[in-house]
């Protein structure tokens, strides 16, 4: 059953190249008007997945639907998709205007309408007046704008972007990211966006699908994926993660206790638990601590204030001053913890060797299944 407003739907997509399984049973649906990123390390199958949507690869198993119609056996040139490639892939022997006109001409759009829509396309990506140039005469950012215009003027049901910013330098990358977001919002065009850059994915996604080893680990909004990762891989890949192993003890409705080697007494909110987990007393649990969820203070600073619940005692091994924030590494009973502290108070900084206390709230850590077999 395709849902009414899903533009792209993948069902049990698997792609094998000889004996390598690049994509392994992926189910995914992209809703009308949303920007979905496929995020993962290189070789995770995200580009192969995108290429199967475009029709450049045929799935070994499973089916692809675009606007509800099965297209698994439809060649790329009959699919209603627009694609933006990492290396732009502009036609080097054609002018910018001819590049943008190509898709319209293939569709048999009348000449005067082609001219009009090409001009509009150039305006859309703010390249008006550059229609007569050849791609080689443009900068990387301009070339990628042409590629965007070329893919958008054919008004595809879905725009596919394969690492579109990877070839650009940092400043241009940010500029183009905003440009893509602007087009996404103004044109209300559905986008599937492949990237290996987690920061890029967090900033532009409506939803993101985190992939590794050919499988989708989690699909969710950036906030869901960051705050409530489905497993250790996602926790580790999106942002920085301290993962501590412990054992659940007392459990009641709202809270449970965990024995952690490096911390005294830990009481956590039950709500901060991956949905696939059902924790019972005696279970091993993995707790994800984001570096910014700790509050760092001197061990003998406000000592004695409050109880010794949800604190970790340790020693700073490394302090990196980054201006707006300070990165610490704190060793606590054999564990190395990464802690990020906003640089708010002038006197609250520490150096290597200082004894410190790390505090966290009951809803700070997040319990996730372990890599090995915790996904029951």
């Amino acid at each position: 059953m395709t849902t009414a407003d899903s533009v792209v739907e993948l069902r049990g997509i698997t792609k094998r190249f000889r004996d390598v399984t690049a994509v392994d049973g992926v189910d995914l649906s992209v809703n009308q008007g949303e920007l979905l990123t496929l995020l993962g390390p290189s070789g995770c199958g995200k580009t192969t997945t995108l290429r199967m949507i475009a029709g450049f690869e045929t799935p070994s198993e499973g089916d692809v639907y675009i606007t509800g119609a099965p297209v698994t056996d439809v060649p790329a040139y009959n699919r209603d998709t627009g694609m933006v490639f990492q290396h732009y892939a502009l036609f080097p022997h054609m002018t910018v205007a001819d590049n943008i006109a190509f898709g319209l001409k293939m569709q048999g759009v009348p000449d005067d309408e082609v001219d009009e829509r090409v001009a509009d396309g150039l305006e859309m990506v703010r390249l008006g007046g550059l229609g007569d140039r050849y791609p080689s005469e443009l900068s990387g950012g301009q070339q990628q704008r042409v590629a965007l215009a070329r893919a958008l003027v054919i008004e595809p049901s879905v725009l596919l972007l394969d690492e579109p910013l990877s070839d650009l330098d940092k400043k241009l990358r940010e500029e183009m990211r905003l440009e893509i977001l602007r087009l996404h919002r103004e044109l209300d065009v559905t986008m599937v966006y492949v990237t290996h850059n987690q920061e890029e994915a967090l900033t532009i996604s409506d939803r993101m699908a985190v992939m590794s080893d050919g499988r989708v680990h989690q699909v969710g909004t950036p906030e869901e994926v960051y705050q409530s990762p489905s497993d250790e891989f996602v926790a580790d890949f999106i942002g920085n993660a301290n993962i501590l192993r412990g054992r659940a003890t007392d459990i009641d409705d709202g809270q449970y206790r965990v024995d952690l080697k490096c911390a005294s007494e830990v009481t956590l909110d039950r709500a901060a638990t991956a949905s696939s987990l059902d924790i019972a007393p005696g279970d091993d649990v993995n707790l994800l601590f984001r570096p910014e969820r700790f509050t760092i203070r001197a061990e003998n600073g406000r000592a004695g204030a409050g109880t010794d619940v949800n604190v970790v005692h340790g020693e700073v091994t490394e302090a990196t001053y980054l201006g707006s924030r300070i990165d610490y590494f704190v060793r606590a009973d054999g564990e190395q913890l990464h802690v990020v502290q906003q640089n708010i108070r002038r006197d609250d900084t520490f150096d290597a060797g200082d004894r410190v206390v790390l505090e966290f709230d009951p809803d700070g850590p997040f319990a996730i299944p372990s890599r090995s077999g915790g996904e029951a």
């Binding site: 040139y77 694609m83 036609f91 080097p92 022997h93 002018t95 293939m106 893919a151």
Partner: protein
């Protein structure tokens, strides 16, 4: 940076006096000397790397060609030798004797037809080798190169044995009362010459097709271009330099082809190279042979020039090709 180099250049001339007076300019002078030394070392490297080839070509190519050019203006003395001098009579003879002009015409004709035939047959297989997913398509490259390993003379003799009027094929056909003639015909010569050209053409076409970014072809598909449209508007124009290169090589090689032309064509389908050989070796008329050689060279260069002119003009208008 830029104003330092601006100062550095004019100083070069009187650097010596600057060094003599010492002072600030001494540093600049030393830097200049170091630069010159470095530059000299680089030039030595150039001589060492390019020298052997340039020497070789100078002695064994330029000198003989220059000598033959001089010979083409010498006076021929029948059944004897030639006398140095300056006469245009050899060239006049080449252009006024119907036998020679016909031979020149046949040579150009065979070259053009062989080249066209070669490109038309070579392009598809080169395309297939480069773009096919078939696991063994790369093995085809070996098959393509294999003919290069067989000398032209050996191959021409093979053709001779196969296609001759009492050759293997005719003997077989004779059983059912048929005869055919390819030996000493234009089609036979074109087929034979093309088999020599194809390996070169295919390798050149492949090398250019390999440079076409697959993403660009995919972009054309993505924009709705079917296989034929994508080929016509994208792949073919992008491979044009390969077509031009393969055409030039094929044409120039055919214009000067000797062994194949000698064994398959002569005497009914004469081409200039074997003709020149017989003029020089049988008639012992070196000046005439030399003049014919330079006419052949001149016509080849002229046609190559015309061809590159036409194709580069076409390339310039490619922008609006669709």
């Amino acid at each position: 940076m830029s104003d330092e180099s601006a100062r550095g250049v004019p100083v070069g001339a009187d650097a010596e006096t600057d060094a003599g007076t010492g002072g600030v300019a001494g540093g600049l002078h030393e830097r200049l000397r170091a630069f010159i030394q470095r530059h000299k070392r680089e030039s030595y490297a150039g001589y060492i790397l390019a020298g052997p080839y340039l020497l070789y070509m100078g002695v064994f190519f330029l000198v003989p060609v220059a000598y033959m050019f001089a010979v083409s203006f010498f006076q021929n003395i029948p059944n004897a030798t030639m006398t140095p001098g300056f006469t245009l009579e050899n060239y006049v003879k080449v252009f006024t004797t119907p036998l020679y002009t016909n031979t020149l015409y046949t040579t150009v004709e065979i070259s053009v037809v062989s080249t066209l035939f070669t490109i038309v047959v070579s392009y598809p297989i080169a395309y297939f080798i480069v773009f096919s997913n078939w696991a063994y398509s790369k093995a085809l490259v070996l098959l393509v190169i294999a003919p290069l390993l067989v000398g032209n003379v050996v191959r021409a003799f093979g053709w001779f044995a196969l296609m001759g009027s009492s050759g293997a094929l005719n003997t077989l056909l004779g059983v059912v009362g048929l005869r055919y003639t390819l030996l000493n015909t234009k089609p036979g010569l074109v087929i034979a010459i093309s088999s020599v050209l194809m390996p070169f053409a295919i390798l050149i076409l492949m090398s250019v097709l390999y440079t076409i970014d697959e993403e660009i072809v995919e972009a054309a598909y993505n924009l709705g271009g079917n296989r034929l449209q994508t080929f016509v508007y994208v792949t073919l124009p992008l491979s044009a330099p390969g077509v031009v290169g393969a055409t030039l090589i094929s044409f120039v090689l055919t214009m000067g082809t000797f062994a194949t032309a000698q064994f398959i064509g002569m005497p009914q389908v004469p081409m200039l190279a074997p003709f020149i050989y017989s003029v020089a070796n049988t008639d012992l008329n070196w000046p005439l042979g030399a003049a014919m050689s330079f006419v052949l060279l001149g016509v080849s260069l002229l046609l190559v020039w015309l061809y590159t002119r036409v194709t580069s003009l076409q390339h310039e208008s490619d922008g609006g090709a669709i």
